[in-house]
């Protein structure tokens, strides 16, 4: 990078880094800096001078030993040396601190010895900032003349000696490792300008970051069209709102139209409407174009072939001109870009990765890192392993990168990978900011035809068994909705046991229905334990204005993963199947025979309705309630609910009979008789209550599936859709198959709506229905930074008999039951909701099994953590 220029009219400052002045005493360093400070080019704080530090440390700038007896001169000289050393030490500490912050620092000292200069070169390299030398080359005569006019002249001998030292050390200066060396013969004639950090740019009207294009020019134009860019009369693609296009690099090589693509980016960057970062292929091609001896491989040879064809068609000269243009363009590409809003870094675009401390700086090391990522490790075959640099990202900017293709954009730890392997037959992705949206275009075909392409490798390894050691002793999961959440080893082990023995295969376990809290506050009404009013109050207090109330079916929770056909399942779950239906704990919902029947019926109905084509999806993932209750819970009902009902009734009938006899015999037991009558009534209400939810089914007749969340189609989850949409979609599904049923719901946006829903709730629960679920209109809602409950259940007064016991409404029972605490349940509801959303999104993005499974296993682990089961 060393480039020596003669003094010229204008000299730019680096935006950050170290400027080392080199020149003997009296060469005008301090004068020059004083002028720049006065002109406002430099801040006073950007200048550090050894003279100033000598004063700061030792109160004097100079100790004069001239004309002293030798013994005295020796001592004074020694003192001066000591003062100088300590002053430099203090100054260099400050230079180092400033460099670590990426600030500009100009060091005002003579720097006549190479070893002094070396210090700053090393320091700058360690801090990844540039180091520049300004050499004040002033004739000896001028120096001597100026010394005479000084307050404290250094003396003729000393000036002469410094001058010859200066001249000597000039010879090797150019090879010392400065990024730039400027020779200033007449500093007063030179203009100095402050340069902006070239890596920084304003987000402006918004930006669209495009993933690795690799010569997929047609797909790129298609994508630009989707993004709303259109060619103007000069052929430049502009967005009507003035958005900026940004490329993560690797626009060429491997694919069919590298030259068109890179020329496109050059023209748009030149026009100031696009930016492109450096990249591994870009750097390789730049070196090739510079005539370096590089071996072209990994598709770079295709670029050379295109150039060859260009030369044949347009002639050698045109080709040479093009090569030179492209060379300069590629060499000028910044290692990364930092997009700011209001001067604050928001988004970083880099090709292969970046460390937090590199953001906004430039150095060889940073350029390498941004081109290749963290390449320290190698795998068993000696191939480099990309280390997960993004796990260390903490500084808050969103980092968008490419380089390492994966089938769907991967959002990890505030970093987003948007290389979806277009050239390998994947897709070309754009990430829109600040909208935070992905737009993508499928590749027309696999151009690279690499049997070991990253996408193929990804797919091959995608379903490999999850790594146990990372999970078994507890771990944390980063979720978009909740951030990081941790699960304890004990609970994880219990979940691993469950997954190893009882659940459907891991590959098919993609969503665990989150638990749901009842109203955080119990009913203020003496006659109720739960009431919708408290749910409304909760959501209103969290700033929710629109809610949806859905009828809660008393059945068994079920997750349905349904595929278009058996073959469609293979790439998702690794085996041909029409789907899976499992319970909230991940176990098969039906016996195998029944499941096959249900799946076949649903599939036939969905295909008949052309569902999969209409929605262009390979799969349908549903969260549902399957009724009747006895379908799944018959054993539980018989051994618990019915058994208790029978025992209670038997007990109370016998006792009532005997107490009536006692009363007839003249005992004073009328109070006891009345009490027993009421209790017998309670027992009968209880017995009636659970029978409401049960009926006989024969085959599939009588089985009803009520979906209330349409979780996902292929490539898309619906967590961003309103609950009204989910309800409407459930209605649509009910029209498709008689196995599906609609769920009643109400939208609440006013006091009147609330009153209406309370009446509705009273009606249906008095009828014996379980109750309702109240949700904010969006899946994930927040109050400020905090996620709020995604749903609150309000169970009916009658239904709660089967939860809180036959006599729960007796005033003294109810009073104590109202002391319940829902804190832990609410916390679990939030965490499980975040995990369930996360696991579905990862599954839909076709992330590796262990990435999906870590969410599912964490949700199962949370379920092993005991919470009051009545809530």
């Amino acid at each position: 990078m060393t480039d020596i220029k003669e003094a010229q009219r204008t000299i730019p400052f680096p935006h950050g880094g170290i400027v080392v002045l080199v020149g003997p005493s009296n060469s005008g360093k301090t004068t020059l800096l004083g002028r720049l400070a006065a002109e406002g080019v430099l801040l006073e704080t950007e200048i550090v001078s050894s003279d100033a530090y000598r004063i700061m440390v030792g109160d004097v700038e100079f100790l004069d030993w001239k004309g002293r007896p030798r013994e005295e001169a020796d001592i004074i000289y020694h003192d001066y040396q000591q003062l100088s050393n300590l002053a430099f030490e203090a100054m260099n500490t400050v230079v180092s601190m400033r460099s670590r912050l990426g600030r500009l620092t100009v060091v005002d000292a003579t720097h006549l010895q190479p070893e002094y200069r070396r210090k700053y070169i090393d320091l700058a390299a360690a801090c990844d900032v540039p180091c520049v030398a300004w050499v004040l080359d002033i004739p000896e005569q001028t120096l001597l003349a100026r010394d005479k006019d000084r307050e404290q002249p250094r003396g003729r001998a000393r000036v002469k000696s410094q001058y010859s030292q200066f001249k000597r050390s000039m010879r090797g200066l150019r090879e010392e490792g400065f990024d730039f060396v400027y020779m200033l013969k007449e500093p007063e004639a030179v203009q100095f300008v402050r340069r902006e950090n070239p890596l920084l740019a304003d987000i402006g009207a918004g930006i669209d970051v495009i993933g690795d294009i690799h010569g997929c020019y047609d797909e790129m134009l298609e994508l630009l069209g989707e993004l709303g860019y259109a060619a103007d009369e000069s052929g430049l693609y502009r967005h009507p709102e003035g958005r900026t296009l940004v490329s993560v690099g690797d626009v060429m090589s491997r694919g069919p139209k590298s030259l068109d693509t890179i020329s496109f980016w050059k023209r748009h960057c030149d026009a100031g409407i696009a930016r492109m970062t450096d990249s591994n292929h870009g750097w390789k091609i730049a070196r090739y174009l510079s005539g370096r001896n590089v071996t072209l491989s990994h598709g770079d040879e295709k670029f050379a072939e295109e150039l060859g064809r260009y030369a044949q068609k347009n002639g050698i000269d045109a080709a040479a001109a093009l090569k030179e243009e492209l060379r300069q363009f590629l060499l000028a590409a910044p290692s990364h870009l930092v997009m700011c809003r209001d001067g604050v870094r928001r988004l970083v675009v880099t090709h292969a990765g970046i460390r937090d401390e590199y953001i906004g700086r430039q150095s060889r090391r940073i350029q390498d890192f941004c081109r290749y990522g963290d390449t320290d490790g190698t795998d068993r075959t000696g191939a480099p392993v990309r280390r997960e640099w993004y796990t260390g990202h903490e500084s808050g900017e969103l980092i968008v990168w490419g380089h390492d293709p994966r089938p769907y954009p991967e959002v990890v730890n505030n970093t987003i990978n948007i290389d979806q392997g277009a050239v390998f037959g994947g897709s070309l992705t754009a990430y829109r900011y600040p909208e935070q949206q992905f737009v993508s275009v499928k590749a027309q075909r696999d151009y690279a035809l690499d049997p070991d392409s990253p996408l193929i490798r990804w797919e091959r390894g995608r379903l490999s068994p999850p790594n146990l050691s990372r999970l078994v002793n507890g771990y944390s999961v980063f979720t978009d909705a909740y951030g990081e959440l941790s699960v304890r080893g004990d609970y994880v082990k219990a979940a691993i046991d469950s997954v190893s023995h009882f659940t459907v295969p891991l590959e098919e376990l993609v969503y665990i229905p989150p638990t749901m809290s009842p109203t955080p506050a119990v009913s203020a009404d003496e006659a109720y334990l739960e009431h919708p009013q408290e749910a409304f109050d909760y959501f209103r207090s969290q700033g929710v204005t629109t809610m949806v109330a859905e009828k809660k079916h008393m059945g068994s929770r079920a997750v349905l993963l349904l595929f278009r056909d058996e073959q469609a399942a293979v790439s998702y779950v690794g085996r041909p199947t029409l789907g899976t239906i499992y319970t909230r704990t991940g176990r098969a919902f039906f016996d195998r025979e029944t499941e096959l029947q249900v799946l076949a019926r649903l599939n036939a109905d969905l295909v008949q309705a052309d569902y999969f084509n209409k929605y262009n999806t390979e799969l349908l993932l549903l969260d549902a309630e399957i009724i009747p209750w006895n379908l799944k819970a018959r054993e539980l009902i018989a051994t618990q609910y019915a058994h208790v009902a029978e025992a209670a009734e038997l007990d109370r009938e016998q006792l009532l009979h005997k107490l009536q006899q006692a009363e007839a015999a003249g005992r004073d037991v009328s109070g006891w008789v009345q009490e027993m009558e009421a209790k017998l009534h309670n027992a009968r209400v209880f017995r009636e209550a659970f029978q409401q939810y049960c009926w006989d089914v024969s085959g599939l007749d009588g089985v009803r599936i009520a979906p209330f969340h349409t979780l996902a189609h292929s490539g898309q989850s619906f967590f961003d859709h309103s609950h009204v949409w989910h309800m409407e979609h459930a209605g649509l599904l009910a029209g498709i198959s008689p196995l599906f049923m609609e769920t009643e719901y109400r939208v609440i946006s006013s006091q009147a709506d609330e009153a209406d829903v309370i009446r509705w709730w009273e009606d249906i629960t008095e009828d014996g229905h379980e109750g309702i679920v109240i949700k904010p209109d969006r899946f994930i809602s927040r109050n400020g930074k905090h996620m709020i409950q995604p749903a609150i259940k309000v169970r009916g007064r009658k239904y709660l008999h089967i939860i809180y016991g036959i006599d729960y409404l007796q005033p003294d029972n109810l009073k104590r039951l109202k002391q319940r605490k829902t804190g832990k349940k609410e916390r679990h509801a939030l965490m499980e909701c975040a995990l369930s959303v996360e696991s579905v999104n990862r599954f839909i993005r076709r992330e590796p099994l262990d990435r999906v499974h870590e969410c599912v296993l964490a949700a199962l682990a949370l379920e092993s953590d005991p919470v009051d089961p009545r809530l």
């Binding site: 068994p465 050691s469 219990a494 058994h643 025992a647 005997k658 089967i802 006599d807 104590r816």
Partner: protein, 478 residues
């Protein structure tokens, strides 16, 4: 929960005196968060009838019951209604005088006087069949009638109620009758509410005096009341001592023979459709022999090690230095830990290391071992999941030797099983010799192993061995 005592005929009027209750008053006390009430329906010389009933506090009842904590049905709890040890605890105070046979001086002679009694109690929640319930009381000279609750539901749920009501008729002293109920009500019930303490053993001895030792169902009663082997042993020792001192007979050694219910049917235990115990031992022996003969056997992975029997068996094989017993179930692992602890310090024995894991996960620490064993494991995995499991084992773990055992379906004929029957409910499949051989051949070819097939157990000419064993060895050329 209630008990109705009706005395009739001669001495019936003594009932209230023996209970030390004034029949004209209502008895209403609170005992341990439960309301205990007694009312007399009649009290004449010919007939006296007392109703004793308890109303526990349903909210207090489930507090502090940590085991039931995670069960939603805890509040839907029959404990509030059925007669159980809890019931006996609640009414012990109210019936203390009668139980201890210590009425007022004037009525002491009546303590030893049998009365014509009708004892009605319930509801009873018991898994014992009616026949056994009847036997428990007919052996004591009662006539027994059993009623059941109402099992009519709007949908098909059950054929009869699980709540029973028991009525006994017989001549018995009130004290003995109550003592019998205080032993047999908890014995009938499926659940005990407290830990079995020394007091409990003592109580059974006191209440059982004079009738329990001769009861034909003595063993059953002890098992169901004391529940734990230690307590039963303690009871037996005390009984034997008494017997000895009474008849100067030598002590019997039967104490340790008492079966311990509730411990023998762990989830890993197979059903006894085959002579399981012997075959298990034979399998372990065959695997141990195979391992012994291997050149490389220093490190062993026992997958699905369950309670650690095979790992313990292999721990003494010379040349073995490391055994990883991999098992996902924490309950099984705890039992394995007990088993392994007994090996500690024995010469020439390697302590197996319990590892949480299963075939559906990848565990770096199991790579490249000498021997990996899947003993009766694969048949518990859905057939369609086996491919990925085997890929994981042979490609990633890549053991020098892999030993797989699985039932031989052909052999089921020898057990007289139907074609579609399987040996264990959790078996997802069972393979005949041909199927297993083809499967082994395929995997051996895929990953450059040799596969040698043998059998374990008693050979049948027509059907082969009951258990099939395959020994895969990594090809020398690889």
């Amino acid at each position: 929960m209630h008990l109705i005592i009706r005395a009739s005929g001669a001495g019936a009027g003594m009932l209230s005196h023996l209970l030390a209750k004034n029949p004209n008053n209502l008895y209403d006390r609170t005992e341990k968060d439960a309301r205990v009430r007694i009312v007399f329906i009649s009290s004449s010389e010919e007939e006296t009838e007392a109703v004793i009933y308890v109303t526990p506090d349903p909210v207090e009842l489930v507090k502090g019951d940590s085991q039931a904590h995670n069960d939603i049905t805890q509040y839907i709890n029959d404990r509030e209604f059925v007669t159980s040890s809890l019931f006996c605890t609640y009414i012990r105070g109210a019936l203390g005088t009668a139980l201890n046979g210590k009425p007022k001086e004037a009525y002491v002679p009546w303590v030893k006087e049998p009365l014509q009694l009708e004892l009605s109690f319930g509801p009873v929640a018991s898994n014992l069949p009616d026949r056994t319930v009847e036997e428990l009381f007919t052996a004591l000279g009662y006539e027994v009638s059993i009623e059941r609750g109402d099992a009519e539901y709007s949908f098909d749920l059950k054929t009869r109620s699980s709540a029973r009501y028991i009525r006994l008729n017989g001549r018995q002293t009130l004290q003995t009758a109550l003592q019998q109920l205080f032993v047999l009500i908890p014995a009938l019930d499926d659940y005990k509410h407290y830990y079995i303490s020394d007091d409990e053993v003592d109580k059974i001895r006191r209440y059982g005096a004079g009738w329990l030792e001769q009861h034909p169902q003595r063993g059953l009663i002890l098992r169901r009341t004391l529940r734990f082997a230690g307590a039963i042993r303690q009871y037996e020792e005390a009984a034997a001592k008494e017997l000895r001192s009474a008849a100067e007979m030598p002590a019997s050694a039967s104490a340790a023979e008492v079966p311990v219910p509730g411990v023998s049917n762990g989830p890993a235990e197979e059903e006894l459709k085959e002579p399981r115990v012997r075959l298990n031992d034979l399998r372990y022996a065959a695997i141990a022999r195979t391992v012994e003969e291997l050149a490389a056997k220093a490190s062993i992975v026992d997958f699905g090690s369950g309670e650690g029997k095979l790992s313990a068996r292999l721990s003494t094989v010379p040349g073995v230095r490391e055994i990883k017993a991999v098992e996902p179930s924490a309950a099984s692992q705890l039992r394995a830990l007990d088993r392994f602890a007994k090996l500690e310090g024995r010469a020439g024995t390697v302590m197996p290391e319990p590892v949480t894991g299963s075939l559906f996960y990848f565990d770096e620490s199991l790579r490249g071992k000498d021997v990996m064993i899947l003993c009766e494991v694969i048949e518990h995995i859905e057939e369609y999941r086996l491919d990925r499991v085997m890929d994981n084992i042979l490609r990633e773990y890549s053991p020098k030797t892999l030993i797989v055992t699985t039932p031989n379906k052909d052999y089921n004929a020898v057990y007289g099983m139907e074609e579609e029957q399987i040996r264990h409910n959790d078996h997802r499949f069972e393979w005949g010799r041909e199927a297993f051989s083809a499967w082994c051949g395929r995997w051996a070819r895929n990953y450059g192993y040799t596969a040698e097939l043998t059998g374990i157990g008693e050979l049948s000419e027509a059907f082969g061995y009951p258990t099939q064993m395959a020994v895969f060895k990594k090809g020398e050329h690889l």
